[in-house]
């Protein structure tokens, strides 16, 4: 009997102890290997964390999360859609873009939309945290620099997006996390007019222009400086539906004195002259895969072909096959320096084939040339781009000689003789050809064709390898890409561009 009484007491007290003790500890779990994103309104992050956040934005943009958006699709959209490249490879998303048969199910376009908005979303979350930082270790100047850098990155992504898709939903704030419904609703933003998109872009760029650091102060060309912002402004004023050529000239002039052309074109691509005087904005990859962060530029491995020679990119048919038209232009201009630094011909007999090039003389895009180590930096903005924009502005101001002088300065570096021209149209053509030869495979050509109104004419005339017309039959509506169907499914407030 006693035993049982004791047992009862023992059991009861043990149970009580177990129930009352330790519960809160069991339930109080916090992430260990991640950090809770602070609510900007309630607490200030440290100066170090603010720096880490900005640095994280750069890493995001150049890193693996978004590298298809920040490098690869720039080349597809700028060069493969245009007359610089055929799609290459065997990927139908690329092929239909090249052939102007794409529809809203194109997976490249969905990837672009979603990666760009994810990048913008990260900026929208980081920005209020940096803005709300009250750590005395963070100077007001540095804080504004960081805010300016973040806002620039946001503006630049919107710029790339609107050039592709036209009207866009403008999202400039972090999502409302109060509950599931507010969160979802805060993402269901309808598209605004292209003008409104540019207003939002300019709003960010004005702040950036006044607050980011000077060109000379930046430790690398990855960092956004006044030069980067001004160069972007020049491009925007040249690209907007109603270009403002005075502004293009003004901002080009803000940029050009801070930079200088490298003596040799080849030095741009030899991976020994990173962060050079010509680079305005450069996605840097240091030692590539051997860098401390392990991030290398892997895009060359899907461009550089053949297990032949120095190229280790593998034996398959690579993407972005240089076009006959482009090679012909270099060759007809005698531009061997830029041709040889942009393209390598290999004999691929017995491997794959393409109707546009013979197997024994098959071009590969080798401007970015180190698939093995991931070393290649990517120039998002480079001095000749802005110089030639200024030349266009000078043509618009009827200063044809001034424009030709710029063209000839660029030609001189690659040992080409000066151009002299007649009409404004002829000079415009000279500038366009020069842009094409200089900036091939850097993601510019398609957007240049669209903004100069030449896209339909040029594309419908493009020929294949045997001189056959490729019959792209580009209709005007195809100058603006369809809003990806997947995005419309996710956000029923999005409307589709006409024609799709």
């Amino acid at each position: 009997m006693k035993t049982n009484k004791r047992t009862g007491i023992l059991v009861t007290s043990a149970t009580l102890l177990l129930i009352l003790g330790g519960c809160s500890k069991i339930l109080d779990k916090k992430p260990v290997t991640q950090v809770i994103t602070p609510d900007a309104t309630s607490a200030s992050i440290s100066a170090t964390d603010a720096e880490n956040l900005v640095s994280g934005l750069y890493t995001s943009y150049r890193g693996y999360d978004f590298m298809t958006w920040s490098i690869f699709d720039k080349i597809i959209n700028g060069d493969a859609i245009s007359d610089n490249c055929y799609a290459g490879g065997d990927n139908s998303a690329n092929i239909t873009l090249d052939n102007f048969t794409f529809n809203s199910l194109n997976s490249n376009l969905d990837r672009d939309w979603s990666q760009a908005y994810q990048m913008i979303g990260r900026i929208n979350i980081a920005l209020p945290q940096i803005e709300a930082c009250t750590d005395p270790a963070l100077s007001a100047t540095r804080k504004n620099q960081m805010v300016g850098e973040a806002r620039f990155l946001r503006a630049f992504n919107y710029f790339d997006l609107t050039r592709l898709f036209g009207k866009l939903p403008i999202v400039l704030a972090p999502p409302d996390l109060a509950n599931a419904e507010t969160l979802l609703n805060s993402t269901l933003v309808p598209r605004s007019s292209v003008d409104s998109v540019y207003l939002a872009i300019l709003d960010d760029l004005w702040f950036a222009k006044n607050n980011v650091m000077d060109v000379s102060a930046a430790a690398s060309k990855l960092i956004i400086t006044k030069g980067t912002v001004n160069a972007t402004l020049a491009k925007i004023y040249a690209t907007q539906p109603n270009p403002n050529w005075d502004s293009v000239k003004y901002y080009s002039d803000q940029v050009i004195p801070n930079y200088s052309l490298l003596p040799q074109f080849s030095e741009l691509w030899d991976n020994a002259h990173k962060n050079n005087s010509e680079a305005i904005w450069e996605l840097t990859y240091g030692d590539g895969y051997s860098s401390p962060d392990g991030i290398g530029d892997w895009i060359p491995s899907i461009h550089v072909g053949g297990s032949i020679g120095n190229y280790e990119g593998g034996g398959w048919k690579k993407f972005n096959l240089p076009s006959n038209d482009l090679i012909n232009l270099w060759q007809s201009e005698g531009d061997n320096i830029r041709l040889n630094n942009s393209v390598t011909f290999l004999d691929i007999t017995g491997q794959f084939s393409d109707p546009n090039w013979p197997s024994n003389h098959y071009p590969f895009l080798t401007k970015f040339n180190d698939p093995a180590n991931g070393l290649n930096d990517f120039y998002v903005l480079r001095l000749p781009d802005i110089m030639l924009l200024k030349a266009e502005a000078l043509v618009k101001a009827n200063d044809l000689n001034g424009a030709l002088a710029i063209v000839n300065e660029i030609r001189a570096r690659v040992s080409l003789g000066p151009k002299s021209g007649g009409s404004a149209d002829e000079v415009d053509k000279i500038i366009a050809d020069e842009r094409r030869m200089e900036l091939a495979f850097e993601g510019h050509r398609w957007f240049d064709l669209v903004r100069t109104g030449k896209a339909i004419e040029v594309m419908n005339a493009e020929k294949g390898g045997s001189g056959n017309n490729l019959n792209y039959n580009v209709q005007p509506f195809r100058l603006i890409m369809p809003v990806p169907q997947n995005q419309i499914d996710l956000n029923p407030r999005l409307d589709q561009n006409p024609g799709y």
């Binding site: 779990k29 290997t33 990927n91 994810q118 962060d293 398959w316």
Partner: protein, 1095 residues
């Protein structure tokens, strides 16, 4: 003597039971009102009697009045008339009786159930008599081999062939008759020399004790929907993961083998899917330890599996029970003779089907049509003609050995087993092996305390090979089907041969170019104590741990493959440990009085899990080191990626209770309540309450049913309840998180979360009926349920936000279904029995809301370059195929045509995305299983059929093998392709570099229904007479075939397939992307030979 009337407490024995029950109630009430009871003995009873010159029989009656003891004696015993003086105050029965019977010439014996037999010390009065009799069955047929035992002794005998027996016993003995297949019966001798008795066939299914959550119940008292699979259903089958045992055996449970890869996982759905982005797999509870993975258990160690399907039976597990609960009980030792059981099987397996591809001549013809004449030269065709499927799909094998030692005494029982299992897949290098040991011990320390422990230790090794992917991504199955026959095995430099057009390696690239090995060491152990105190109380305390140590080593050879050469080799290793512990205390109380049976349970449990993972990786390995061991290669690799760590912790604290009440086993009622607090939710949202109620009515026990002869049992059940689901939700999903770059310290916003993230809640109503007819030859169960889940977690990809997707409680889903089980004893004869068990389940799954205005999410079931085959849509079930409707091949152009809304049948270039629609469903109309067992003398033949009806499969493999757009080899189906204008065929013509003929469309949606002879086993039990001579307690041998015959129209390898069903997929993709075949490792058919031995 013979005429003396037996007395039990003065009442007639016929109505003994009934009267006892009434008395219990009366005594209980008396005790309550008089409050005379102050203390209790081990049986909860103590006795206080104050008697002066009272006859012993009167005293005994008094004792009966205030206790549970019942006396059994011959009324004529003289000693009973003796008058005694007694003054007992709170004494035990023994103390009282020794006083009462002192010098009375009587003695006594306390039996089970508080029966006290009073005997005379006088030999005459207590003399032994010879009892004879005949034992018959239901139909008055004599029963041979029935055990006849004097209760409480080892004195016994068996009936002979005529059913007669004879045994010498004390004249107040009780005889116990028992025989397998019949209910036990007890009969007091009361001095009779002839005791004839009729045994009734066992109401086994009704008296079967079913393990339920936190306890067990007689099957006949169940009010919820519970399916049971026993060790008999598991025996003689090559079951690797115990979950396989449920396939086709339990109504309402859909088990899908995700692939035929050794050690591959299973997909288990109990009554459909209830979630989109959280888990849909049931909770497993093994000997009381909740877990999500039972792959390390050996099926041989399992005694029974109970599947708790409805809310009423599962809700005691609250927050983890919405997908049903699978309660597994492992084998325990039994008191008595020690046993040694040895089981083994070995056999070989081949694919269930072969798919034909082009040979090199046919391939040349095809290629020259696609790329132009001369693309493939005659010399190449002559040089190489490899049938890649034959190279890749070979004969696998499997073997299993298990030895188990069990036995024990009344005090201690043990079960110890050791097993080894090895599977070699049909595709190299996929293998799986597992060694596991199990120890179950239970010990009764004294009358009130017993302790038990169960421990499983296992190690499993898996060697993986990439499947479920296109040749472009190195999937071995599609590589086998699409690598040209002209591609050599190796290039001249020893590297893997490549398709020159694409650079894709032949399947040896997947097989030899990389290794991917997984190891899991696991210990699951628990220790528990059962403490009985007061009357009817049982306190159970249990503490368990589940410890896992996982390792994965991955290596890409730096030389053999292009990918390897590009990376110059790649090495990565993940190691992790997971320690989960559980502490659980429950208090049970049960009380029966008159016909009222009442029991209650209250409990508390706490669980905590701590997961810690480390990743290391390296690349750039000089080829000279590529044959070294992984660790050496890691040391040699020149680039080391910064290591990273992941830590994940969660905790769950729960309070739960249950009340069972039944009146006379006729009116049954149960209520459950569980309150859970989970660390996975914000502090304000942490607590959830899950109630359930159920009731049953055994109509067959009603008086008005007495006349209905053919119905033996009829029970109506109904239940309602609510469960939660938190499985598949990350530990910190309610928080917005940022990642820290392990190399640079960069901070990047990574996830966002709504502050109000909460549980999914499933509300289920179940109505069921159980019945048996015609002497229980036919047993039927039917269940109907409606299961609605609200706050369904949906990982919604966000348009225009930071993360690819965010987890929101934004969906609603419902499942409505019916389940039927029929068991029939078709033939019951001495040498021949034939039984049939059939079950069929219907379930309609429907997503009633995704969230806000969203009605459609694409992005599931990706087919390389063709987009997504599966969509999630409001108003439809999970696993809906979405795409174009194919409308034949244009005889003029050879183009595949598609139906449009307004333009009729057109080629793809003229379609618009809005022409797509829902083109098929992976949800079956019903799934079923049937087991036939025929026993003839020593032979047992088991035929187990299983099938699924009405489901579609998206045959993504055909997109690759009938694509006709590039240099991939193709299936022989394309020999019928369109070639010239005017050709009428359903296979389009070649179309270089274009996917227009192979977009997601009905062209690739196929009928996935199948009927499969899952198991056919013929076993022979070796004659026991022979075995006895060599001291073997039992032996049988069997031959068995698995998946031997499959009836299906599906054109792929096997209809049991789910490319996206693997655990490595994100949960939402796994849940939504059902029924896609994109190069999954196919199922095998297996022939086995097995031996079972008992010593």
């Amino acid at each position: 003597m013979r005429k003396s009337v037996p007395h039990v407490g003065g009442f007639q024995s016929r109505s003994l039971l009934k009267i006892l029950l009434i008395m219990k109630l009366a005594i209980f009430l008396i005790l309550i009102s008089a409050l005379q009871v102050h203390a209790f003995d081990a049986n909860g009873q103590s006795i206080s009697i104050n008697a002066k010159q009272t006859e012993i029989r009167k005293v005994l009656t008094d004792i009966e009045r205030q206790s549970n003891y019942r006396f059994l004696y011959n009324y004529d015993l003289k000693g009973l008339r003796k008058k005694v003086d007694l003054n007992a105050e709170k004494l035990s029965i023994n103390d009282v009786l020794s006083q009462v019977f002192d010098n009375s010439g009587l003695t006594y014996k306390i039996l089970d159930n508080n029966l006290v037999v009073v005997l005379s010390q006088n030999e005459d009065e207590n003399k032994e008599i010879r009892v004879t009799g005949k034992v018959t069955g239901d139909n008055d047929e004599p029963l041979a081999g029935v055990s006849v035992l004097e209760k409480g002794t080892s004195n016994g005998t068996f009936t002979d062939n005529g059913g007669t027996y004879s045994l010498t016993v004390g004249n107040s003995a009780i005889l116990v008759f028992s025989s397998i297949g019949f209910d036990n019966r007890e009969m007091p001798v009361n001095g009779q020399s002839v005791v004839n008795i009729k045994l009734t066939a066992a109401t086994k299914q009704l008296d079967q004790v079913v393990v339920v959550g936190y306890g067990s119940q007689r099957k006949k008292d169940l009010t919820g929907a519970v399916s049971v699979v026993t060790s008999a259903d598991i025996a003689n089958r090559p079951i690797v993961n115990p979950g396989e045992a449920l396939q086709g055996k339990a109504a309402g449970v859909q088990v899908t083998s995700v692939s035929g890869k050794p050690g591959a996982g299973l997909s288990l759905r109990i009554r459909g899917s209830s979630s989109i982005s959280a888990g849909n797999e049931p909770l497993y509870v093994v000997d009381g330890i909740p877990m999500t993975d039972i792959s390390s258990y050996s099926a041989n160690d399992i005694e029974s599996i109970s599947v708790l399907k409805d809310a009423a039976s599962a809700s005691i597990y609250g927050t983890r029970a919405a997908n049903g609960v699978v309660v597994i009980t492992t084998k325990k030792g039994k008191a008595g003779k020690s046993r040694i059981d040895f089981n083994t099987y070995f056999g070989s397996s081949t694919l269930t089907k072969k798919l034909d591809v082009l040979d090199s001549r046919q391939y040349q013809d095809y290629m020259n049509e696609v790329f132009g004449p001369g693309t493939i030269s005659d010399s190449l065709v002559a040089a190489t003609n490899i049938n890649w499927p034959d190279e890749v799909f070979r004969t696998g094998n499997q073997q299993s050995y298990q030895v188990a030692f069990s036995g024990g005494s009344d005090k201690i029982q043990h079960y110890l087993s050791l097993g080894y299992l090895n599977q070699v897949g049909a595709i190299r290098p996929a293998t799986f092996d597992r060694i596991n040991a199990r120890l179950n011990l239970s010990s009764k320390l004294n009358s009130w305390l017993s302790i038990s422990t169960a421990t499983t230790v296992s190690r499993s090794n898996t060697s993986d090979v990439t499947d479920n992917n296109s040749v472009a991504r190195g999937g071995v199955v599609l590589s086998a089907l699409t690598t040209p026959p002209t591609v050599p095995k190796y290039a001249s430099d020893g590297t893997i041969g490549q398709n020159p057009q694409t650079g894709w390696e032949n399947p040896l690239g997947a097989i030899e170019g990389s290794t991917n090995k997984f190891r899991e060491d696991r210990i699951v152990s628990n220790i528990g104590a059962d403490i009985r105190f007061l009357k009817g109380f049982l306190f159970q305390s249990r503490f368990g741990i589940d410890y896992k140590n996982n390792g994965n080593q991955f290596f890409i050879d730096p030389w053999l493959t292009q990918n390897g050469r590009n990376n110059q080799g790649n090495l990565s290793q993940q190691t992790s440990t997971t320690l989960a512990w559980l502490s659980e205390q429950t208090l049970n109380y049960s009380k029966s009085f008159n016909q009222h049976n009442f029991s209650a349970l209250a409990g508390w449990s706490a669980q905590e899990s701590d997961y810690d993972q480390t990743n290391i990786a390296a690349s750039k390995l000089d080829t000279q080191y590529r044959f070294q061991k992984w660790d050496e290669m890691f040391s040699r690799a020149q680039i080391k990626t910064a290591p990273s760590k992941t830590v994940d912790q969660w905790g769950l604290v729960s309070y739960f209770g249950r009340i069972n009440y039944n009146f006379a086993g006729r009116y049954l009622f149960q209520a459950n309540l569980r309150v859970d607090k989970s660390s996975k939710f914000a502090p304000d949202n942490r607590t959830a309450v899950f109630p359930s109620f159920s009731a049953g009515w055994r109509i067959s026990d009603e008086a008005f049913m007495n006349k209905v002869d053919f119905v033996q049992d009829l029970k109506l059940r109904a239940g309602w309840g609510r469960n939660g689901n938190q499985e598949g939700i990350g530990s910190y999903e309610y928080l917005s998180l940022s990642n820290i770059n392990n190399a640079t310290g960069d901070i990047s916003p990574a996830t966002i979360a709504p502050a109000d993230l909460r549980w999914e809640t499933t509300t289920q109503t179940n109505i069921g009926v159980d019945a048996s007819f015609w002497e229980r030859r036919i047993t039927v169960s039917a269940d109907f349920y409606v299961k609605k889940t609200s706050d369904v977690l949906v990982r919604i990809p966000l348009s225009g936000q930071i993360v690819p997707s965010v987890l929101l409680n934004s969906g609603d889903m419902q499942n409505v279904g019916e389940e039927f089980v029929i068991s029939s004893k078709n033939i019951v004869k001495k040498d021949l029995t034939w039984t049939t068990d059939f079950n069929i389940s219907f379930n309609k799954n429907k997503v009633t809301s995704i969230g806000n205005d969203l009605s459609f999410l694409s992005g599931f079931g990706e087919i390389y370059e063709r987009g997504f085959a599966v969509a999630l849509a409001k108003g439809y079930g999970l696993g809906q195929f979405y795409g174009y409707t194919a409308a034949g091949v244009d005889p003029q152009t050879g183009q595949q045509l598609y139906l449009t809304k307004d333009k009729g049948a057109v080629p793809y270039s003229e379609t618009s995305p809005s022409d797509r629609s829902f083109i098929g469903s992976a949800q079956p109309d019903f799934v079923y299983g049937m087991t036939n067992v025929v026993t003839y003398k020593n032979f047992d033949l088991t035929v187990f059929l299983q099938g699924s009806q009405g489901n579609d499969i998206f045959n993504g493999a055909r997109v690759e093998t009938e694509g006709m757009k590039d240099s991939r080899n193709q299936s022989t189906a394309i020999l019928n392709r369109w070639r010239n204008p005017g050709d009428i065929t359903d296979i389009p013509g070649v179309s270089l570099a274009s996917n227009d003929n192979t977009v997601i469309s009905t062209r690739f949606v196929e009928n996935g229904s199948y009927l499969r002879f899952k198991t056919i086993t013929l076993a022979y039990r070796i004659n026991q007479k022979w075995l006895d001579k060599i001291g073997i307690a039992g032996a049988s041998v069997y031959v068995s075939g698995q998946n031997v015959i499959t009836v299906t129209k599906y054109k792929g390898f096997d209809p049991e397939v789910s490319t996206y069903g693997g655990v490595s997929n994100t949960t939402d993709n796994r849940n939504v992307s059902l029924g896609v075949d994109y190069g999954a490792y196919p199922q095998s058919k297996t022939f086995l030979f097995g031996i079972n031995l008992s010593l």
